[in-house]
């Protein structure tokens, strides 16, 4: 089977790149072995939350200059970064996803510990703040659902109290949710979101919360609303007379899943081909060192051929890298990986310290072309968390890198750069 572009991966970077290419008239096939980091998303995107010196930048684009030259943002370059950052909200809107935030500056989002963290753009669930102050009256009501342990409401409430707010905790008990408890392991965010999708269930939930509200001006709820679309969020916000903030639960992430599904539908409706639940297992190169074909476990000996290939396989976390005892390898194409040679330097035994392994990635040239045995592979680009030169977890730059590198790879294939 032959396509213009074959993309390996099904996460944020693969889908963004696939949509951009397919909409510009390329035939694109995406092969994705499983779900991806979006299913674990906080509901907001990070661009650059922390500089190497530990400070939080305000203006995002200029701050990029402080990053090492091999960083993906430096490859995109400041002019193009500014242009791409400016296009991001519109791009997602065209895929049915409303993002908000200042594309060129950091805002703040609320975490489960009651503290605020830098964030770039956010899904509708997440409120972005300009300052650390969450409630002007200082009174916060935290509401959870009875039996739902993946949202630690007492912890959230005490965190708010510690931050100086007057905080009350209430539980809502609902029959539809209680029936999930027959199987304790099904009491998870997505199942609750599904149970709350029915209009009358949602109505009852809203009136329960209204009943519990006293003089608070701020209500905090878990992110368990709107798996298919965001209408439950709008209903809650318009009918509860307070500022409503939704805070992340344990995985899976309802806003992340919704966003991922919308991107996938946008890709499909642009005419793209998606192979879910399939893994690229082997690649073939031609005499000149270009990739000729990729083989997958489902398709067996049928090759997937294309003029251009993109690797968006998510790094160590997405199984796009494989850590052997004494080496970190890229298993599909055997590309050069950027990591310290000594295993001792891969990680810090202090779990919370800066971890070097979260920054391993494939070595690329300035246009995100992969390097293999020191030589550039002319028709293979590497994007998102698979791309080396950055430490997304440390920098709070995961989504930003995924989107910026996806735009750039697409544009260079389209010949516009």
């Amino acid at each position: 089977m032959r396509y213009d572009v074959v993309i390996i991966g099904g996460g944020l970077s693969a889908l963004v790149c696939g949509i951009r290419l397919q909409r510009s008239g390329k035939s694109v096939l995406l092969v994705s072995s499983g779900q991806n980091a979006m299913h674990f998303s906080s509901g907001s995107f990070g661009f650059l939350g922390r500089l190497p010196d530990g400070s939080v930048p305000d203006g995002l684009i200029d701050a990029v200059q402080a990053l090492p030259e091999s960083h993906p943002y430096r490859k995109v370059g400041t002019d193009r970064l500014r242009e791409y950052a400016g296009q991001t909200i519109g791009f997602f809107e065209s895929a049915g996803i409303l993002l908000h935030g200042d594309p060129l500056h950091n805002s703040l989002r609320l975490t489960a510990s009651g503290a605020t963290k830098p964030a770039w753009l956010a899904m509708e669930d997440v409120t972005l703040f300009l300052s650390g102050e969450v409630s002007s009256s200082g009174k916060v009501l935290v509401v959870t659902l009875k039996g739902f342990t993946d949202f630690n409401a007492p912890f959230v409430a005490s965190a708010f109290s510690r931050m100086g707010y007057t905080c009350r905790l209430e539980e809502v008990e609902m029959e539809e949710i209680a029936s999930l408890r027959k199987n304790p392991t099904e009491m998870r965010s997505v199942n609750i979101a599904r149970a709350l999708e029915g209009q009358h269930v949602l109505d009852r939930f809203i009136s329960c919360v209204r009943g519990k509200l006293k003089d608070e001006d701020t209500v905090v709820l878990p992110q368990v609303f709107g798996l298919k679309d965001t209408s439950p969020l709008a209903a809650i916000r318009s009918r509860i007379p307070a500022h409503v903030h939704f805070i992340g639960t344990m995985i899976p992430s309802v806003p992340g899943i919704r966003t991922q599904m919308s991107l996938k539908s946008a890709f499909l409706s642009a005419g793209g081909t998606f192979l879910p639940g399939d893994t690229a297992v082997r690649a073939g190169f031609d005499g000149s060192g270009s990739v000729a074909a990729v083989f997958t476990s489902n398709l067996g000996k049928t090759p997937l051929e294309a003029g251009e290939f993109i690797l968006a396989s998510g790094g160590l976390w997405g199984k796009g890298l494989d850590a052997k005892y004494d080496a970190v390898i890229e298993p599909l194409f055997s590309l050069d990986v950027d990591y310290p040679g000594e295993r001792k330097q891969w990680y810090d035994p202090d779990f919370f310290a800066r971890q070097s392994f979260t920054g391993f990635g494939v070595v690329t040239d300035d246009a995100f072309r992969a390097v293999k045995g020191g030589k550039t592979v002319p028709n293979l680009r590497v994007i998102g968390a698979e791309c080396g030169g950055a430490n997304p977890l440390e920098e709070g730059s995961g989504a930003g890198i995924a989107i910026m590198s996806a735009f750039m790879a697409a544009d260079s294939i389209l010949g516009s750069i």
């Binding site: 779900q35 199942n191 599904r194 639940g277 489902n298």
Partner: protein
């Protein structure tokens, strides 16, 4: 038992508890009795290994659509775990109904000579009442009709003698539905393959066993599987099919549920759309279509085709047909899942599962629906009134067979 080793040692610990499978399971959305893939699969397995007391008969509500497996980020073979657990711990003995529904070949042989009578009885109000009350086969369900003359008889009489004259050969695993209900699918298969210069051989096949697996008739399923694998090895040819469910069963359920190794023949078992597409890629065949063919169709990807990951081949062939206006329907289960939807206790769930698909078909209003699965066909035809055809039948109608034959003369 080998299958315990096989599934358990390798797989259930790989679950990272993300519940993504649950999000994709069509049954849990409509049936509160079903524990859901995560609980029924990897989570429950942990308990069952300690004590079979934890086995839950409600695992039977899993219709083995495998949508959970396609979605799982860790590659957990969830449905295989569920059905292996049913095999090992299930205490329910299959009743007459299960035997009737699962005995697709035996029932076919018995029903065949009396096809008009059987069809009339199965379709009549009285017949349906009896099936409902006595057997628990839902009276609202319409039965697929038995064809009076089977595929094999036609093949032997009309086609068998010329097959050796073709330069290459395949073995056709036609499955029960081609023989008993839809011989037109088998005829289209033979005509199209012959036109591109490929000869067709039949084997002494038995039902692939999918319905036996879902109706807990394990020894029968294994017997059939062992027999079929022996036939495949004897044939030594590509084994080509027209049904997505048979294909998945032969390739994946044999090793994963019935613990029968098939790695020596697995790669050779393919559905005809993949077979043709690969031949086109290799430049081995050419297809010439009729200039006057026109149709507006909607393609429903059966769950098992989705799991095989092969719908791209069907789509590619359909897109080659010049006069075809094609819509690919949203991925979603039709609700029938083989014999599942025939059972009285499942009927309402089966219909609820399929509802979004039925609505989409009505909104598209195609001339007909295309799908590789015979039970999807029965379900969609009964629930929407739209006719469903196998893609090979569409290709047969759209191809200019004479010109194709000429183009493939070697």
């Amino acid at each position: 038992m080998i299958h315990n080793e096989h599934i358990r040692s390798s797989n259930f610990e790989e679950c990272i508890k993300c519940t993504i499978c649950t999000e994709f399971c069509p049954v849990i959305e409509v049936n509160p009795l079903f524990p859901g893939p995560k609980q029924a699969g990897p989570d429950g397995e942990r308990f069952r290994l300690k004590n079979s007391f934890f086995f839950d008969e409600n695992l039977k509500y899993c219709m083995n659509c495998k949508r959970c497996e396609t979605a799982c980020p860790s590659g957990v073979k969830i449905a295989d775990i569920i059905h292996s657990a049913r095999m090992d711990y299930g205490t329910v003995i299959p009743h007459l109904r299960e035997r009737i529904l699962a005995g697709t070949d035996v029932m076919g042989t018995l029903a065949r000579p009396f096809a008009p009578i059987v069809n009339a009885v199965a379709g009549s109000k009285a017949g349906k009442t009896v099936m409902d009350k006595v057997l628990g086969i839902d009276h609202r369900r319409s039965f697929p009709k038995y064809a009076g003359h089977g595929f094999i008889g036609w093949f032997k009489k009309e086609k068998a003698s010329i097959q050796d004259s073709f330069p290459s050969q395949v073995a056709f695993f036609h499955g029960c539905s081609v023989e008993y209900q839809h011989p037109e699918v088998g005829k289209a298969f033979v005509e199209v393959l012959n036109a591109v210069g490929v000869g067709v051989r039949l084997m002494d096949e038995k039902c692939c066993g999918v319905a036996m697996i879902s109706n807990a008739m394990w020894p029968q399923a294994r017997r059939n599987a062992i027999h079929n694998l022996k036939e495949f090895r004897k044939a030594g040819l590509p084994v080509v099919t027209t049904s997505s469910t048979c294909t998945l069963t032969l390739r994946d359920e044999y090793p994963n549920i019935l613990a029968l190794r098939n790695d020596d023949v697995r790669e050779d078992i393919v559905i005809v759309e993949k077979f043709l597409s690969d031949m086109l890629d290799e430049g081995d065949i050419k297809l010439v279509f009729r200039p006057d063919y026109k149709a507006k169709v909607a393609y429903h990807v059966p769950c098992h085709m989705e799991k095989l990951g092969w719908s791209i081949f069907t789509r590619r062939l359909l897109e080659m047909v010049p006069g075809l206006e094609l819509t690919v329907l949203d991925p979603g289960c039709c609700g029938i899942a083989g014999t599942y939807g025939f059972k009285k206790e499942n009927y309402q769930y089966a219909q609820a599962i399929g509802q979004p698909l039925f609505d989409e078909i009505r909104a598209e209003d195609p001339e007909y629906v295309v799908s590789e699965c015979e039970t999807c066909k029965w379900q969609i035809e009964m629930s929407t009134g739209y006719k469903v055809v196998n893609p090979i039948v569409l290709l047969y109608e759209a191809l200019d067979l004479d010109k194709t034959r000429e183009a493939n003369m070697r």
